[in-house]
Amino acid sequence: MTVDAAKLVRMAEQITANMAYTDDVELVAARVADHLNRFWDPRMRQAMAEVANGDADQLSPALKAAVRQLHGVAGEGAL
């Protein structure tokens, strides 16, 4: 992987924090996933998915749930 994974995680967590006006993790996850699907290059989504496949526990619960809803990653051959 060529992108800086730590930086992507930092950006994704920042998005998650800014969407987290409620305690409803699923709702926040859905909004985060939608944001990443709309605005992130699939290569960055793929890299996030790889992070989640590796050490998912470094991610917040909402982000972890969001990564499962990303389009065009792992297995679907987006790259």
Binding site: V3, M11, I15, Y21, R38, F39, R43
Partner: protein, 962 residues
């Protein structure tokens, strides 16, 4: 073909038009008329205008000296006397209003005699050097002497006079020759009424009266900001452009649009053959109404500066010398290298960046080049680093990524809230309109960490200055909204009728939480709760509350949240959808709005339509005859990260200078160095060009046909005043590059590009060059062919249907002051300079701002042993630089401030890669730093100077050949 553009002299009808509610839906409403008879001709004229204006409309030019259409009538010169049947004496036509049935005579033997007497007095104290005077041919005194038939001067010329008064040549761009002054006070009134600076006064009385700047200072030492309004107003050679003194009177003019800031002032570019002599603000300009600022009016010297590169350059590596080549070779080289990179690293390994300084047409072809010729969506624009949060925030809440009002709307505001913007420095002509309204008594709330000029300036004083800590924007906007709800100040009827009620319910519950109260946020923001509450009451209870904001809102890690917070506050108080209210981003560069409209963002096509929208994609695919990738590409910071990661290798950069303007300079340097082919298209070998392999010389705005779209969505024409110095139009460079890469792009004129944009973009329906020529300018959206544009948005409903209240949790930035970096650095700009300064540093304006200065509070300075004028080292987690200190109470303790107009300052060596959560707009406005006294430049600065010198050497040979 350009002859088509030439326009005649500007006509001056003597007194202003009556401003009918210009901000109302369709523009000027038809004012009621009255019938008058002027010199035997019956005419119907608008009610409320002067006899002078009515006569001018009827074709009779009454002699005048103290009157001009740009200023309120004054009635001092007594040259414009007329007779009105049934009235005694000789009333001044400039100060007398028309009445139904009035019968006016503008020429009688008695009037002629009176006028000659007046002129005789003026001329007896005026030098008779007309033939050698710089204003010869453009002097109203001369014209009037002719018009009244002055033949002799009985008084002689040797009485007491003012003829030996010395000239004041201190102002950079104009000269002041008091010997020629007729004390008409037009300059004084222009400075007050148009500019709002009050730098000039008439000193003394009667014969002794004279015009003085400030306290009888030289212009350069006075409060004058060199806007040039007084120069335009002066009927004589007293105040005159130095360029006219040097070149003589212009003989021809073209109407075009300023290429500096998002106000988008309309100008007459006045020329003599191929030489631009002066830029005069266009009275008929819809954004500026005949006013301008120092940059657009005078700072055009960069266009012909010796640093301009006019021949294409290529080299294999950035350590090689540049080679001057012809256009064909340059285009072929660029295309081959990009293709080779794609062959080796994949289709998505290259991309392009569009510029907010370029025209809509030029931007459009670059994004088309990336999507169609390069076959990916790695296209972004420099708006990424300034107003991308505006696009995101306003689209989410209101449904359209643009400001809601026209500029004139501010004249109907009752309370103006300015957040994170410094209009008097960054949007001066709009600031003048705003000050006019403030002088009339509108309330003012300033939300800014610094005491900007508006907080207290001549005849303006903010009711509240919420002086928050950098980074606390969202806390303050939430507190304001909390106070509105808490104190029952919301506009319930409006919300019920206009907004999504479910979203409102959720938002209301959120904003009412105690953590959002002014009391709870006081400690975070530093703004006393009582002040927040008082400001909320003032704004909500105003009648018309208007919000204007700038980069101090967007350039934060919560920039998008803040934009949504602003929209929420406006919706909750019913302040959207009519004149005098609204949410208005003050855009930085001239064409930020346009560059965003043109589909420059990696995720969307023109008119802010997401790539995933199948119908839109099909439309483009049919027009462009190519398949489009439905997934977003890289944003600028992603491109840099990917370059460092080794997968992004080639970049086509249109007129943007990342290496100076983008944050975390050292990271940017690393990214640029990691690419195999960087193509820079610009006027100058800028900072980024030091890392380039191909340089394609661009055109200044004076050399192009096209359009710019200003902060009020106004599409204005840019017209060729002189031929491209490089011999190639910028849009054509991009088309040729695409064609060389195997995707044919051909247009015969930029008007064809606009036609294509209009075909593909619902909000641009019917926009064409012919229509722009007819109407002067058009504010999008144009939803059908017949539309003349839309000054006000969201009038009956929001573009998205129901307004959406987005919850805006306050998530503090990671960039916090701590023991290591205890101070917060914030950045901004000054009036005389423009952003990276590539243009303004190459004009005389550099005299006003020779270096970037660090502002520091006396307390912070003292504990560190920093004194005024000394060198200060600044260190953040990103880097280290050195600036000169100015110790001032303008900044709060704990806060530092600097500008970034000069590359060697390295302000962006300090700024970090922290960015807005939604859009990656960099957090320029907050960097945690330490400051300490030093005696020499930083390591980075020393490297910068070595690198600059080396790069300079590598271009010398090629440039001397060319």
């Amino acid at each position: 073909m350009n002859l088509y553009y030439r326009v005649g002299a500007e006509r001056d009808l003597g007194t202003p038009a009556v401003i009918a509610n210009s901000a109302a839906k369709g523009g000027a409403g038809a004012a009621p008329t009255v019938n008058v008879e002027i010199d035997g001709r019956s005419v119907a004229v608008p009610e409320g205008i002067s006899v002078m204006r009515a006569a001018a409309l009827a074709g009779a030019n009454i002699p005048k000296l103290c009157a001009t259409e740009d200023l309120a009538a004054f009635g001092s010169c007594r040259l414009c006397l007329v007779t009105i049947e049934g009235r005694k004496g000789y009333p001044a036509s400039c100060t007398t209003l028309v009445e139904e049935g009035m019968v006016v005579h503008t020429q009688t033997p008695r009037l002629a005699e009176l006028r000659r007497n007046v002129m005789e007095l003026y001329i007896s104290d005026h030098p008779l050097d007309c033939l050698t005077c710089a204003a010869n041919g453009d002097c109203e005194l001369q014209d009037m002497a002719g018009a009244v038939g002055l033949r002799t001067v009985r008084y002689g010329y040797d009485g007491a006079h003012h003829l030996d008064k010395p000239k004041d040549e201190s102002a950079l761009y104009f000269s002041f020759d008091p010997a020629k002054c007729i004390v008409c006070s037009r300059c004084v009134r222009a400075c007050e009424e148009q500019q709002g600076t009050y730098a000039l006064t008439i000193n003394g009385r009667g014969f002794d009266s004279e015009v003085v700047a400030s306290q009888n200072d030289a212009f350069i030492d006075s409060e004058c900001v060199s806007c040039g309004a007084c120069v335009k107003a002066c009927p004589t050679a007293t105040l005159i452009e130095k360029s006219v003194i040097e070149h003589g009177q212009p003989e021809s003019a073209v109407i075009t649009t300023c290429a500096y800031c998002g106000v988008g002032c309309s100008f007459r570019a006045e020329t003599q053959g191929g030489q631009l002599v002066r830029m005069v603000p266009n009275r008929d300009g819809h954004a500026n109404h005949g006013h301008a600022c120092v940059k657009g009016r005078f700072a055009f010297g960069y266009a012909t500066h010796q640093d301009r590169i006019t021949t294409p350059l290529v080299r294999d590596s950035i350590d090689d010398e540049w080679q001057a080549v012809g256009w064909d070779e340059a285009i072929r080289t660029a295309a081959e290298r990009l293709q080779a990179i794609q062959a080796r690293y994949g289709r998505k390994s290259i991309g392009g960046v569009t510029s907010s300084r370029c025209t809509n047409e030029e931007v459009y072809v670059v994004q088309k080049f990336v999507r169609a010729a390069a076959g990916n969506n790695n296209v972004d624009t420099c708006a990424r680093v300034c107003h991308s949060p505006t696009g995101y925030g306003l689209k989410t809440t209101l449904g359209e990524s643009a400001g809601t009002q026209n500029f004139d709307s501010v004249l109907e505001a009752d309370v103006i809230m300015v957040i994170g913007a410094n209009p008097t420095e960054a949007h001066p002509v709009f600031a003048s309109a705003m000050k006019r309204r403030l002088h009339q008594g509108a309330g003012l709330i300033v939300v800014d960490p610094r005491a900007i000029d508006l907080v207290q300036s001549p005849h303006v004083r903010a009711d509240y200055h919420l002086q928050l800590k950098p980074g606390a924007n969202v806390a303050v906007i939430n507190a304001l909204a909390h106070a509105v709800i808490d104190e029952g100040l919301e506009d319930e009827a409006y919300i019920r009728a206009r907004c999504d009620l479910e979203a409102y319910r959720i938002w209301r519950a959120f904003i009412s939480e105690a953590r959002n109260s002014p009391e709870a946020t006081e400690a975070l923001s530093g703004v006393p709760a009582a002040q927040v509450r008082a400001a909320a009451r003032l704004y909500a209870g105003a009648g018309n509350g208007a919000i204007y904001y700038g980069l101090g809102v967007t350039e934060h890690s919560q920039g998008s949240t803040m934009v949504m917070g602003i929209a929420n506050l406006a919706m909750a108080t019913g302040n959207l959808g009519r004149p005098g209210v609204g949410v208005n981003p003050l855009r930085g560069q001239n064409n930020v709005q346009g560059a965003c409209d043109m589909g420059s963002f990696p995720h969307e096509l023109t008119g802010y339509r997401h790539l995933s929208d199948e119908a839109t994609r099909r439309l483009f695919e049919a027009e462009w005859q190519v398949a489009l990738d439905p997934e977003p590409g890289y944003r600028i910071p992603n491109m840099f990260d990917a370059a460092i990661g080794g997968e992004f290798k080639g970049l086509y950069v249109q007129g943007e200078d990342f290496a100076q303007s983008d944050p975390d300079t050292q990271h940017v340097y690393a990214a640029l160095s990691a690419m195999e082919c960087v193509i820079v298209q610009d006027l100058f070998l800028n900072e980024t060009a030091k890392f380039a392999h191909v340089f394609l010389p661009g055109c200044s705005f004076l050399e192009k046909d096209g359009t710019f779209t200003n902060a009020e969505r106004r599409i204005s024409p840019v017209r060729k005043v002189i031929a491209p110095l490089s011999g190639m139009d910028e849009w054509d460079i991009t088309c040729r590059l695409a064609t060389a890469m195997g995707y044919e792009m051909r247009y015969s004129h930029p008007s064809e590009i606009m036609d294509e944009i209009a075909r593909l973009t619902p909000t641009f329906r019917g926009v064409s060059y012919a229509k722009l020529a007819e109407l002067g300018s058009i504010q999008w959206p144009c939803r059908d062919e017949a539309s003349a544009g839309t000054p006000l948005m969201h009038v009956d409903e929001f573009v998205r249907g129901k307004g959406y209240f987005a919850p805006t949790p306050y998530v503090p930035t990671d960039e916090r002051a701590n023991a290591r970096y205890p101070l917060l650095l914030t950045t901004g700009r000054v009036l005389s300079q423009y952003n990276v300064g590539a243009q303004t540093r190459r004009t005389g304006a550099v005299a006003y701002h020779r270096e970037d200065i660090l502002e520091i509070h006396p307390t912070d300075a003292q504990v560190r042993g920093i004194v005024d004028g000394s060198w200060v080292g600044l260190k953040s987690r990103a880097g280290e630089t050195v600036l000169r200190a100015k110790v001032t109470e303008r900044v709060q303790p704990g806060v530092l401030y600097t500008t970034f107009h000069h590359p060697e300052s390295g302000a962006n060596v300090i700024t970090t890669d922290n960015s807005d959560w939604a859009t990656n707009c960099p957090e320029y406005k907050v960097t945690a730093v330490q400051a300490y006294p030093v005696s020499r430049p930083s390591e980075w600065q020393e490297m910068f100077h070595r690198f600059t010198a080396a790069q300079q050497q590598l271009s010398e040979q090629a440039l001397s050949e060319a």
